[in-house]
């Protein structure tokens, strides 16, 4: 009985939202109430299942689903500490985003298609979180591309189609290189599961050049989604999607999946020691640093709120890459914890940007003047997110930067401090003017396009943004407690650096 549960639980957890998505497709556009309840019920159920897996993992079990796709090639879904971290984040943010999206899209067409793919997208993210080897990861990674493309082009405008095309060009080319790297790696090693500390480290292959090339092929595959410069160009273009999609794309799904993949690649495939031996960490850290600074500089030049947030994502997600690329336990904690923190803060910011646009038609930065008086709660959440990104204590962003800096010093990479300082200054430079406009400027006489929003909808949307902002503060304030993301991550990292 217990064995059966351990076997099927990961698969069921992944498939819950797929089933919901398929029912939504089949039910079609008209059954709005069914769709709404199904969405929320599936999201709650998924959260419950992830919680159950969490309890089992804490009790020392390892739930694992395994089936052979090809002889010798298994599809493995397994819950370890790292997958649980990402799975919890996705399940939680999916629930909030679903509530937000239901309200946001209340009057728009094609909702069945939207929520169907939305659910499938979460299935892929969950599969990425639970993937127990690189092949499984790849399969769900591709599925993620397929299921997010309809969301990106959802509005069907010429700009949306064009940016969807760019998105596919980048991601599919990346995945072709990923696949070649994968085949090469499987050729060298056979199918290896993810193992804390790396499965390649013990093999003693003496194939250093092959391993280096494989590493970079896989980094390109993941880096496209993680928006590493120069592979980031699709991300700002994808901003044409509706706000809930941007929120999900930036906080949990696509960009995070790429970053999560890089973590898996370094910690569980190559292993930190092999990455250090081959000298792969430093170039990757430099690339991540360039991305951090470059993304921030470009963010300065954007006058569209969502575009500025998008370039901010390009910059912030690379903190995760930077942390694991530097190596050493402390920096790795900094990188991994940012996986959670960036998600919470960025989703808050996108929720707020969506509310500004949906309620008042405010899309440009100069239109933000005095919006704090009109939408105080939303503006407060936005402020929390922005200050967290800058790294102001006690909001969670501070903790990430602290660990990154301390970790870099611990392994003697002092230049990273410079990158962090520059990034913090740039973050302040592109966020503080927004806050000044929101709170200190007088409001205009007429908002660009005011829409009538029902009380329930506005409560759902504003409530979502307040929730995520509160959680972002809470995980910062309560970081020292057991069960906080920080202590969870610390537990994971002690496995990598015993």
């Amino acid at each position: 009985m217990m064995d059966q549960l351990m076997f099927w639980l990961p698969l069921v957890t992944v498939l819950v939202s797929a089933v919901a998505g398929i029912v939504i497709f089949v039910a079609g556009e008209r059954h709005q109430r069914l769709r709404t309840w199904l969405n929320i019920a599936a999201a709650l159920l998924k959260l419950l299942l992830v919680g159950l897996i969490g309890l089992l993992v804490m009790a020392g079990n390892v739930p694992e689903f395994r089936v052979a796709l090809l002889p010798g090639l298994d599809l493995v879904l397994r819950a370890d500490g790292l997958s649980l971290l990402f799975a919890t984040l996705s399940a939680l943010l999916w629930l909030v985003t679903t509530i937000y999206a239901i309200a946001y899209l209340e009057h728009s067409p094609n909702r069945a298609r939207f929520f169907g793919f939305f659910s499938l997208c979460v299935t892929s993210t969950m599969g990425i979180a639970m993937a127990g080897n690189l092949l499984t990861f790849f399969i769900f990674y591709e599925l993620l591309t397929l299921t997010t493309w309809p969301l990106v082009v959802h509005t069907g405008s010429a700009a949306a189609i064009a940016s969807g095309r760019t998105y596919l060009r980048y991601t599919l080319t990346g995945s072709a290189l990923f696949l070649i790297g994968l085949i090469w790696l499987y050729g060298l090693t056979g199918g290896q599961d993810f193992i804390a500390g790396g499965s390649l480290a013990d093999l003693d292959l003496n194939q250093n050049w092959s391993l280096k090339i494989i590493f970079w092929l896989l980094v390109i595959g993941m880096g496209v989604k993680a928006a590493l410069v120069p592979l980031h160009r699709w991300l700002p273009l994808a901003m044409v999607a509706p706000a809930p999609v941007s929120a999900l794309l930036h906080a949990v799904a696509v960009v995070k999946a790429g970053a999560f993949g890089l973590v898996r690649l370094i910690e569980d495939v190559f292993g930190p020691s092999l990455v250090a031996d081959l000298g792969l960490g430093l170039p990757l850290a430099v690339l991540a640093s360039i991305t951090i600074v470059y993304g921030s500089v470009l963010a300065l030049y954007q006058d569209d709120i969502k575009k500025r947030l998008a370039f901010s994502t390009v910059s912030q997600v690379s903190y995760i890459t930077l942390g694991v690329a530097i190596g050493g336990p402390v920096a790795t904690i900094g990188g991994l914890i940012h996986l959670v923190h960036q998600g919470l803060m960025k989703i808050t910011l996108f929720f707020c940007a969506g509310i500004f646009a949906n309620f008042l038609g405010v899309k440009k930065i100069e239109q933000l003047d005095g919006i704090g008086r009109r939408l105080p709660w939303t503006s407060a959440s936005f402020t929390v997110g922005a200050l967290g990104m800058i790294g102001l204590p006690p909001i969670s962003g501070f903790i990430s930067k602290w660990y990154l800096g301390a970790g870099a010093v611990a392994v003697g990479q002092h230049w990273v401090i410079g990158v962090l300082v520059a990034s913090t200054l740039l973050n302040a430079a592109y966020f503080l003017p927004l806050l000044k406009r929101i709170w200190l400027q007088p409001p205009p006489e007429q908002w660009p396009a005011e829409h009538r929003i029902s009380r329930l909808e506005s409560a759902a949307m504003v409530g979502s943004s307040i929730t995520t902002a509160t959680v972002a503060v809470a995980v910062g304030l309560l970081a020292g407690f057991p069960l906080s993301p920080l202590s969870w991550v610390t537990g994971i990292v002690t496995e990598y650096f015993p």
Partner: protein, 482 residues
């Protein structure tokens, strides 16, 4: 018993075709059911037999090989028989909605359909070069007849062009067969290997036969007839032509190459055939990318996808063999699904111009869903049968350090994604998605459902690879020769 089952596979459809012509109109549906439904049940015991014994041979009319004609069933034939029977049933469902058996169109359509099935079954069982010629002619002529049932001027022109090229190809093949008989004194596919010494005459014979077969299977650059023929035939017919008809002639090439000429060392010609395949992948995909009609996109996609089946010649090992076989089956199902869905769309809208398809996902959701699922498999994205095929090809190329082929396969997948996503973007997300064209007839649910089942089967192949790979491993001729 086994002999009777094999005979049933061939003669049941022939019998059905004759009865259809003689019986009253109201009986035709029943006749079709009676001759089609038993086919999978004939294959089941044969599958068990092949799994145990690996091979079954029988001499027709009791005359042994050099004089008489043999039938031979092995794992490869069995696999393609299964593919054909599945297609006959599922695509047949879609066709029955279009060509009602009791109608006049039905009387033109279904006898040819059954003859096509009989021809393919006989071809897959035959072990004799001349018998292969006869069955291949049967398949070609039935196919041409089916294209012409489309009735439009374009369909008739395409059928005529196909007919002329196919006749020329048959002559080439027949010439080769004649040379072989003069040289070796036997036409048995599996005994020729010993009787035929490598030499100028036998090489000429092989080249002539190959040339004929390459035309029939529309391998680049001899593909010119295919897009027009497959693009203008009625939907279910295009489905069968692309999914199986062009592949049976590739099947004969495989037989000649790996069985008859199995122990000849032919690296350079093998490379040449592989390069033709590479050319097909690039050229077919590039042209699919610029087509203005949905069915033409799908037809050029066939030109491209056939190229993969030629990669077995340069790669030439067990993994590549499994990859090619898997690709054959997965492409068959996915392409049939695409053509059935495209046919439904064409009938509903009265046009399959891509510009007219905007907003189609709202109006024909099931057919668009079929289109999307089948596309996933064709692009080789996981999880799907197409992905397994691509993975095996890449692995085979990797094992031999053939980086060029690896790059080509990866590029082929990207190009397929490019032309298929173009279609999906135009159908679902076009900016003018509210300018609906006026005419819309809902396609019959049965036809849409048949397409969906085919697409689901193509995706499902991504999960059930073990039995098919087992069959292909058993069929690999390299295992017999040291």
């Amino acid at each position: 018993m086994t002999e009777a089952l094999l005979a049933a596979l061939v003669f049941l459809p022939v019998l059905g075709a004759c009865l259809l012509l003689l019986a009253p109109a109201s009986w035709r549906a029943a006749i079709l059911l009676v001759v089609t439904v038993p086919l999978p049940f004939c294959l089941l015991p044969l599958t068990v037999l092949i799994a145990d014994a690996g091979l079954f041979e029988m001499a027709l009319a009791g005359h042994p090989a050099p004089l008489g004609i043999r039938w031979r069933l092995d794992a490869l034939s069995l696999l393609i028989l299964w593919l054909n029977v599945s297609l006959m049933i599922l695509v047949g469902l879609a066709a029955s909605a279009r060509f009602a058996p009791a109608s006049v169109e039905g009387l033109r359509f279904w006898p040819l359909w059954l003859l096509l099935a009989a021809g393919i079954h006989a071809l897959l069982l035959s072990a004799d070069l001349f018998n292969l010629y006869v069955t291949l002619e049967l398949v070609t002529l039935a196919g041409i007849g089916l294209i012409a049932t489309g009735g439009s001027g374009a369909a008739l022109r395409a059928a005529m062009r196909y007919l002329l090229l196919a006749l020329m190809a048959s002559l080439l093949y027949l010439l080769g067969v004649g040379l072989v008989y003069a040289e070796a004194g036997t036409l048995d596919l599996y005994q020729l290997g010993e009787a035929l010494e490598p030499g100028l005459l036998s090489a000429t014979a092989l080249v002539l036969m190959l040339a004929g077969l390459l035309v029939k299977s529309a391998v680049f650059p001899l593909h010119a007839w295919l897009p027009a023929a497959h693009g203008n035939a009625p939907g279910p017919v295009s489905a069968l032509l692309s999914a199986i008809v062009v592949k049976v002639s590739i099947y004969i090439i495989w037989r000649l190459w790996f069985w008859t000429a199995g122990d000849w060392q032919l690296p350079a010609p093998g490379l040449l055939l592989g390069l033709l395949g590479g050319g097909a992948i690039l050229y077919g995909s590039a042209l699919a990318l610029v087509q203005k009609r949905l069915k033409m996109v799908v037809a050029y996609s066939t030109v491209a996808q056939l190229g993969y089946l030629m990669l077995i010649f340069p790669l030439s090992n067990l993994l590549a063999w499994q990859a090619a076989g898997y690709h054959l089956v997965a492409h068959g199902l996915a392409k049939a699904a695409l053509f059935v869905a495209a046919g439904n769309i064409l009938v509903s809208l009265g046009s399959d111009r891509l510009r007219r398809l905007a907003g189609l996902d709202q109006r024909l959701p099931m057919d668009v869903f079929t289109l999307a699922l089948a596309s996933v498999s064709l692009m080789g994205l996981p999880p799907s049968g197409g992905f397994v095929g691509k993975w095996l090809f890449l692995q085979a190329a990797y094992e031999q350090g053939a980086w060029g082929w690896m790059a080509l396969i990866a590029l082929g997948g990207l190009l397929a994604a490019a032309y298929l996503f173009r279609v999906l973007a135009l159908t679902c997300f076009h900016p003018r998605s509210h300018g609906h064209s006026t005419r819309l007839r809902e396609p019959p649910t049965l036809a849409s459902l048949a397409g969906l089942l085919l697409a689901l089967a193509a995706i499902g192949l991504g999960f059930a690879s073990a039995p098919i790979l087992g069959l292909l491993e058993a069929a690999w001729p390299g295992a017999m020769a040291p």
